[in-house]
Symmetry: C2
Subunit: 292 residues, 2 copies
């Protein structure tokens, strides 16, 4: 593995996720906090206009705009399409080295603790994830092997990943999660530094991975209106087993709806506010143990 | 006290507070749930356009538009000014009796349980509040003696009050709080029915009241940017005592800021998402016991 030379930390890819916004503002004010001797670190705000307006986005979700097709299409001129192109220019500048790693900071109303969301099983990221999760039980690791054309910011480089922290409401700062996220970032930067300097001697480690297998929508009427809520027994139970026959939703009339799958799954992003409009009540994952 | 003849239940006065929105939709679908033999009950959605767009409001906060001056001013034509006039026409129709009571349903990211917010110390409302809080420790009672011209929907009638439920994120349904709010509404309607029928024989009751005495803003820079977060020791501690010298905020640099008042207060609406823009980190209240 070659040296990491440039790292980007992005906050406010979604404008109403304040943890990342204020962490990046702090890093911009105190760059020493994220500087390391063997690489350069950029701290960057994502959706500037949405941050200003305390919204997730203005016209469309910025974190779906980083497709090759979209970035190369001059016809696309919504605020987010334009901003995606500008961010790409910063992270992949002409006549300069591209960033080698992207840490994209998000928050969620689901009880996700400190979750790392990886797009693939790159060995370096898996070893980093194993290192971080061995240090804190709050760190969980998810793999979402989406296609190249999903348009996530993190897809701009091989070592791109998301940190999702929660549960925290949109447009709210939770000081405890803020500080835990900050510490996690420093640990990641120190790990990069250690790798660059050849000081990380990582034995084979056990890593627990949660692999996306699909999404579940809320029960809806023909007109698309939701008919049920996340069941109280499932609310805030991200990463816990959901067994066939367990209650999943509670209708507005008070009727239980049960999970009817054939085997145990591990739901995450349960009751994320921004996913109501995407038709997602939760992601289902499979729990796997792996040596990395 | 004369009979209660018409009651209004309003949800979605703020469009991203889903508990009230979906309770009102349920009541519209099943009017028998809120019908009582001695009075009529209306279930009404407040900010229709904001509900559609999953926002608190479109142009301005609807729940500040119910001033006499605003309602009588034909020049005011923002969406919310227009909607306020339409709601007034429904609740105070020409040639028909006005509603006698308004139950205005809100939710909050603060840990407010089931809070009743009253605008004054009307004896009937205080007895109702004493009755409800004696039945559930989750029910708390706040008095905000604002001027007539604050423009709250509840100011349209003498027996107008707010139910604030939380903690729940904006644009999220929490099934447990949904069901508790629903039960509270039925208890209130049954109480009205009992009063109308002369069946409520309420002895003198002890009532604990939290009276608004002021607001505290986040520490801010000269440019108005917040410099600190609610302290982890205060987060979710609504209605608990805050003593002089207790930590109140934590700056982004990790420094504690302490409460410097002269006496113990009881903060509420701690870290409410919608109040960042209003310059309110929390309301301070005094706790009082009263016989009603």
């Amino acid at each position: 593995m070659s040296q990491i030379q440039r790292v980007a930390i992005v906050g406010g890819n979604h404008g109403n996720e304040l943890t990342g916004v204020h962490l990046v503002k702090k890093f911009q004010q105190y760059p020493n906090l994220i500087n390391r001797s063997s690489f350069e670190t950029l701290a960057l705000l994502g959706n500037l206009k949405a941050i200003e307006e305390s919204k997730r986005y203005i016209d469309k979700d910025l974190n779906r705009c980083f497709t090759n097709q979209g970035l190369q299409n001059p016809q696309l001129s919504s605020y987010e399409d334009t901003r995606a192109k500008a961010i790409q220019q910063i992270l992949q500048p002409q006549n300069q080295p591209f960033v080698d790693a992207i840490i994209d900071l998000h928050s969620t109303t689901a009880n996700m603790g400190l979750s790392l969301i990886l797009s693939d099983t790159h060995p370096f990221l898996l070893r980093l994830a194993a290192y971080l999760s061995s240090r804190s039980p709050l760190v969980k690791v998810c793999i979402n092997q989406q296609s190249k054309e999903s348009g996530f910011l993190r897809s701009l480089c091989e070592l791109g990943f998301v940190i999702e922290v929660g549960a925290v409401a949109q447009n709210v700062l939770n000081a405890e999660l803020f500080e835990k996220t900050e510490q996690l970032i420093y640990t990641i930067l120190d790990y990069f530094e250690g790798c660059n300097q050849g000081n990380i001697l990582q034995e084979n480690s056990q890593l627990i991975l949660y692999k996306y297998i699909g999404t579940i929508d809320y029960p809806r009427s023909e007109r698309g209106e939701i008919q049920a809520m996340i069941h109280p027994q499932l609310q805030f139970r991200d990463y816990e087993p959901l067994n066939p026959g367990d209650p999943m939703f509670l209708t507005f009339e008070g009727k239980n709806i049960f999970y009817e799958g054939a085997s145990t799954v591990y739901p995450i992003f349960i009751n994320e506010a921004a996913y109501y409009e995407k038709g997602i009540a939760m992601y289902l994952t499979q729990k796997q143990q792996q040596v990395v």
